[in-house]
Symmetry: C2
Subunit: 359 residues, 2 copies
Amino acid sequence: MTSPASPAPRRAAVVGTGLIGGSIGLALRRLGWHVTGHDQDERSASLARQMGAVDEVGIDPAAEITFIATPVRAVAAAARDALGHGPGIVTDVGSVKGSIVEAIDDPRFLGGHPMAGSEQEGVEGADADLFAGAVWVLTPTAATDDATYATLRGVLTELGADVVALAPEHHDALVAVVSHVPHLTAATLMGLADDRSTEHRALLRLAAGGFRDMTRIASGHPGIWPDICAENRSAILDVLDGLVQSLQDVRSVVADGDRAGLLAVLEQARAARANLPSRLAVSGDLREVRIPVPDRPGVLAEVTTLAGTLDVNIADLEIAHSSEGERGVLILLVEEGEAERLRAGLVGHGFRPAVLPLG
Amino acid sequence: MTSPASPAPRRAAVVGTGLIGGSIGLALRRLGWHVTGHDQDERSASLARQMGAVDEVGIDPAAEITFIATPVRAVAAAARDALGHGPGIVTDVGSVKGSIVEAIDDPRFLGGHPMAGSEQEGVEGADADLFAGAVWVLTPTAATDDATYATLRGVLTELGADVVALAPEHHDALVAVVSHVPHLTAATLMGLADDRSTEHRALLRLAAGGFRDMTRIASGHPGIWPDICAENRSAILDVLDGLVQSLQDVRSVVADGDRAGLLAVLEQARAARANLPSRLAVSGDLREVRIPVPDRPGVLAEVTTLAGTLDVNIADLEIAHSSEGERGVLILLVEEGEAERLRAGLVGHGFRPAVLPLG
């Protein structure tokens, strides 16, 4: 890796120069990085270079970080290739994490998923600001090297992302709820309206803002979904079953003319919608949580995924190794209102954290 | 009614000075109308006057048109009151039309539904431009006076609305698909995510743009929905059943790993989403469709709802009564590409239309 004192730029590689890969390239180059891009579609890689999303086309054995931004089914092979090309960190941006992380057991690999996108596809839609304020999930495991996590986390934070650590399977269960099933539902609603519009031509003319909002994601490219549905099948089926059950409950409420029941459903939804976390939730008041940790693999993954699971936002993270080398201190900065939640969770997991005011 | 030569402003009344009623008031006043407003909540009416949405608070027996913009359950009584106050036209803006139109059998009443709104409520959210480019459904029946329809249509067009005539029951079936069930589905998705977030605190933090789009309408005020669900129950239940069936079909496709089946669902949805009519679809090339009509009640309703059902956009409409008084000619301006569809439909209903180039 490039030493911090060197004037040479930090080097990254992007495999798959589509919308996400291209946006990573643009964002890193804006920060002064040198980015090399590869795509099995040579026109895509060439276009990425013309657009300034990458400096050059090819493979970079000296890349400090390689981002695998291929379709989900191609991630594991591409990641293994990249791990073989050089000593750097390898991460991916796939929408499903369990199967990918399980397939690549390497301390230099760390699964990731930026929760940002667009209905567009291809490098033409790439945007250096795509990740500003967006949640970027990382899925460290006991196999993940601490330095891998800390380095990648730092770079993603520089891209403006809000890094949340989750266990791979936990990530998959959650995105089934907030992404995969909503997408399938949008397509289903749109298809239902389309079917009925053959009988009732005027139907789609009546589609006002609410319907357009609800079906917007159905205008995305279908190509990525067979992989996602295959890789995250059980979580998606579980949530689809929950949705069908809930819709049948709503049907009963409507059929029975149960006004109070209907209001309860809608009031819950309204309150929950109003409470969706804003993209930049960090306030000014932070606390330092110092956690003495044994110097064993997996501690950083355990602590950060615990914070993610507890929805505690980590504003900054530092690992202070002790001089004896057997123990270290993990220092997290978290919001004042979330510090106690994290502290209690850590104690429950056998840690002995201290919460201190900043400064 | 005020004669066209008079310098006195045309007069309208609004009953229910909330978001829609207030927006109608603002839009009409901008066109030079005198608007009187009434609301059972005196503070709301008073606020509407302070905001300039109405000229005065009260009842106007001289109103040329009274807009009933109360909650759905109160429309019928308010409309009957307004019909009793003076000789003017009365219309409403309720989201359900069958039960309302059936309850008010008067040639001066014409049901309506502007397909525009907002998550806001109350006159504070009123906007003179709310109806610009929006579809405004009118539901004329055999009982509707031709002059009532022609006058109201002209005024709504001046507000910028795209007027579509549909039979009341047809309207109700269509809005169940594009409005009522999507709303219930958004609330259900939001509720499902909320339920699971109690177990998984991080869940809602992962909600990115697509989920936010899909659940936006769930942030609207629940108060109007018990009425809507009660008045349009059978159409809503029918569409909910269709949605549940379609979701179960999607579930099978996912469970079976049927990639081609999944792509077919998503491709259909994507194509349909891309083909949603734009809000201002009128092109420059119009045709004149001249339809000799017997001078009997209901002809205008029959012709305009036929056009609405066929999704033929009426850019302008004129009724030329013959001097003998027994017959007249109905002149519609429609887009070139839709003229033949309308002509064929009219022939099928026993009319003898002629399609002419403009000018």
